[in-house]
Amino acid sequence: MIRRAFPSKYALPRSPIGPADTAILLGLFLLFYTIARVGSGFFVAFKPPSLSPKVYLDPVNLPYYAARSTLRMFIALGGSVLFTLAYGYIAAKSQRAEKVMIPLLDILQSVPVLGFLSVTVTFFISMFPGSILGLGMASLFAIFTGQVWNMTFSFYHSLITLPKELDEAATVFQFSKWRRFVSVEIPAAMIGLVWNGMMSFGGGWFFVAVTEAITVNNNSYTLPGIGSYVAKAILEKNLKALGYAILTMVVLIIAIDQLFWRPIVAWAEKFRMDKSTAATHASSWVLDLLRSSKLPRIFSQEWRKVRRRLPEISFKRFRRPTIKLTWKRKKSRINEDLVFGIIIGTIVVGAITVGIHIITSEVPAREIFSVIGLGFLTFLRVVCLLLFASAVWTPIGVAIGFNPKLSRIAQPIVLILASFPANFLFPAATIIFIRLGLGLNFGSIILMILGAQWYVLFNSIAGAMAVPNDLREMAANMRLSGIPLWRKLILPAIFPAWVTGAITASGGAWNASIVSEVVTWGKSTLTADGVGAYIAKATTTGDAPRIVLGVSLMCVFVVLSNRLFWRKLYALAETRYRLG
């Protein structure tokens, strides 16, 4: 048999360190250096408020500021992951905890995070007196609360919908709780966790931009970062610096997408359980680089060696096989439930009473009614935003989604657009409003649209891509086109995706109203009538009763629209408009 000689690269014994390894080592070195350099800035002493760190508009400083903001994002992400695993696990495993934890999660998800800034900032600064750490913690906390609920819901949902056979297999083979958690539950939840983490992380930039430079209780605080850089640029009316910041942000988002999220998404593909949907083949050059490198393998081999020598760590409660647990604890159930219910009820009633007391002691009844009116105004803005985004982006999303080549290009771009913090663009919009003499009452709708529209677009694309090919062929064969085609096929088919997008967009818009109903450029300030502006004003002056009033009203609006409207649409999407 005559055969061609093998390509030399396969025959040559590989040197222990190849080019891939060098690249990875260099990358790791760079990463550690940056963290060490940037991290040291977290503990700088300051005396609030006069001596808080200065921000300089020289673009040379931008990489450093960007790195600080990024580090904050990742710390918050780490915190979110830990919280998600713990909260989701407990809620899924304990029936009693579930009864409180899930509604609570639902409420927390609806609460506008930015409304609580005055409380959290004051609290954290008093926790770490004389250090910038307190401010940093407040910012971290805001980012954390902005991204964590989604992830927790996703994880909880994966846990309770764990494929039955996997669950049974884990039980039959007597997995310890730990083993079950690590090798069954986390892998089953991985894809949802990764995608939700990525989307929530993208949303986090918005909070970075807001929380790095804030005025609370008449004190202005600054935390060095890309957000405070923008704030300073706005104060000094420096358009050029603003441009640099936007550019930096774009580069940053793309870099994090390429270096961090893409590899994780591509890696997580192996946890996919339904083989059919694996058609969306995610690939990442970073992951390919890591896989072709020897370092991870050497590392994991060494780790295995070390682990074999370690004594087995035993968590006694944790290691007990799970079967036994299901049989006990049935008897005194009713009594315990009653006590439990009374405790929870007391807490809820107490909180409401205290809240009402705080509000009514300072705010006259007439003002309360006018705030309800302001809530309606903001509500109308959210509705306008949804109408606009749906009317414009749904057709475009469908056109993209029906074209596989186009959607492969467009989808990552839309993801990046959705991650871009819209408030970086607010100053530019503000200038235009001032030039045109357009009041913020309408202008703020545009500001909200800037941030929230992408969710509608992104989900329309995803929805259109998921329409089965034979349904589209059937429609062509039956020569449906124009309005009948949209009415009979397209709109119902993308309805579930649209609902998801619209819920996300409206949630984002309520939150954004707090920063988009009051905007400034230099010394000029534009204000809109709305509950967002009301909260923002109360926050600046530290007016606690009005903050509580504004925030709780906004919560009521969000929760009511969720219960009365979105939940029904969602149920409809799940039953009638579910494909397959």
């Binding site: 055969r3 061609r4 396969y10 059937m474 064969n477 086109s481 009948p484 009638r576």
Partner: protein, 434 residues
């Protein structure tokens, strides 16, 4: 039926080819190659072929859903350039809209015709009555069984009163009994003479289905899809599956369909390329040994149609397994009958370890891709080799998808034979540890 208009075909397909470009390699992949076919009024034509023969693509070209790369489809004398108004299609997966009721699903077919509401109601009721779905107008597809859902699919096509009815494997998503029942009803409707279409084009990989329904069976070959020839089915209707004429026709077609691929290569040919590209039939070792055991159990030569029937698997799924058994020198096929060779019999009887060894010897002798992969690994002196190396080689001869399938089949065989291991995280092939 209409014998006078026999000369004027309803559909005329002239030199139709379909080529898909392959962006990475700059080459292309041919699905349909120079198809010429006419369909006349009053006949049922079955397009019979294995997967990869492009029969569904041909159907879509006729329906105007897919544009041919070369050639033209004429429908009623007019060239087809967009969705063809003369045809209505029944889909393998039903393609019903879950948010519409049965009635609304059926009326979809009339949407583009802008008929008065009364006429729409009347026509859709008639169509539903024809398929036996009276009383289910207000039901949603989700509430119906698979067989009933496909009845809705038929009603939706009937309501259009198309010149030609296009059936794209309409019974293959149904269980055996339901499929048999529905197939029988469609045949009855045709025989009664008031069928709502003049002609039918049926795409199928089920030989008996083709004989049961068709007047002409057009047999297609795979990779690229070509028309190999056609067989006229002159059996009297209603057709009896167990009649001798039916059986011998089925055997005849089975033989034709098995023949081009039953190349027995007793000696390995010299090859100047690194890779001998004799394609491997996509069958798992477990399935091959299962089939052999079954034939061995029944003793003598076994009829392919009987095996297919007994195993309740479609010819499309059975043939690759059979081909693999033949390629590996375990079995012979003659006139639609399967016989085991000496090696095949030993293999079927052997216990696991011995069976594995026999399989290894046969694979090394007759499956060139497995041999190549094994030799490359031996020559690399224990270094693992990335799958892309082999996929790149295969890519020169096959479409991306087929290259992947070929690779996976070779991988399955080699792993079963204990010739190599595969690390699916890193996508590396390695020699098994001793």
């Amino acid at each position: 039926m209409a014998t006078v208009t026999q000369l004027q075909p309803l559909l005329r397909i002239e030199g139709v080819s379909k080529v898909y470009p392959r962006p990475e390699s700059g080459g292309s992949f041919t699905v349909l190659d120079d198809i010429n076919l006419s369909v006349y009024p009053g006949e049922i034509v079955a397009l019979l072929g294995r997967s990869g023969s492009g029969k569904s693509t041909l159907l879509r070209s006729i329906a105007g859903l897919s544009k041919p790369s070369k050639g033209t489809v004429y429908s009623n004398g007019v060239a087809v350039t967009g969705p063809n108004a003369d045809v209505a299609m029944v889909f393998q997966g039903f393609a019903l809209l879950p948010w519409l009721t049965v009635n609304e699903n059926v009326e979809i077919g009339l949407e583009s015709k802008r008929l008065p509401q009364k006429e729409v109601k009347k026509r859709s009721m008639d169509a539903l009555r024809l398929v036996g779905l009276e009383g289910f107008e207000k039901a949603y597809p989700r509430e119906l069984s698979g067989g009933m859902q496909q009845r809705v699919g038929f009603a939706r096509a009937f309501v259009v009163q198309p010149r030609v009815l296009m059936l794209d494997e309409p019974f293959s998503a149904l269980d055996v009994l339901t499929a048999e029942n529905l197939r029988g009803e469609i045949a009855d409707l045709w025989e009664e003479g008031n069928f709502p279409a003049k002609s039918v084009v049926l795409v199928t990989h089920n030989i008996e289905e083709a004989i049961m329904l068709a007047d002409r069976v057009v047999i297609m070959s795979s990779n690229p899809g070509r028309i190999r020839g056609e067989i006229r089915v002159t059996l009297n209707r209603p057709r009896e599956r167990n009649s001798n004429a039916f059986r011998s026709m089925a055997d005849h077609i089975y033989t034709i369909m098995t023949k081009p691929d039953t190349k027995i290569t007793p000696v390995l040919q010299e090859s100047s390329s690194l890779l001998d590209v004799t394609p491997l039939p996509h069958a798992r070792p477990g399935a091959i040994s299962g089939l052999l055991e079954l034939v061995e159990e029944y003793g003598g030569p076994e009829d392919v149609a009987v095996i297919s029937d007994r195993l309740r698997i479609e010819a499309d799924d059975l043939l690759p397994i059979l081909d693999a058994a033949v390629l590996l020198g375990f079995a012979l096929v003659r006139d639609g009958d399967v016989t085991l060779t000496e090696t095949g019999r030993t293999f079927a009887d052997a216990e696991v370890e011995t069976a594995r060894n026999i399989f290894r010897d046969q694979a090394l002798k007759f499956a060139p891709m497995v041999t190549t992969m094994h030799e490359v690994l031996l020559a690399s002196r224990g270094k693992p080799i990335h799958e892309d190396f082999f996929l790149d080689l295969l890519d020169e001869h096959y479409s991306d998808e087929e290259a992947r399938n070929q690779f996976e089949t070779a991988l399955n065989w080699g792993r079963y034979a204990g010739l190599f291991d595969f690390d699916s995280d890193e996508k590396l092939l390695l020699l098994p540890e001793e």
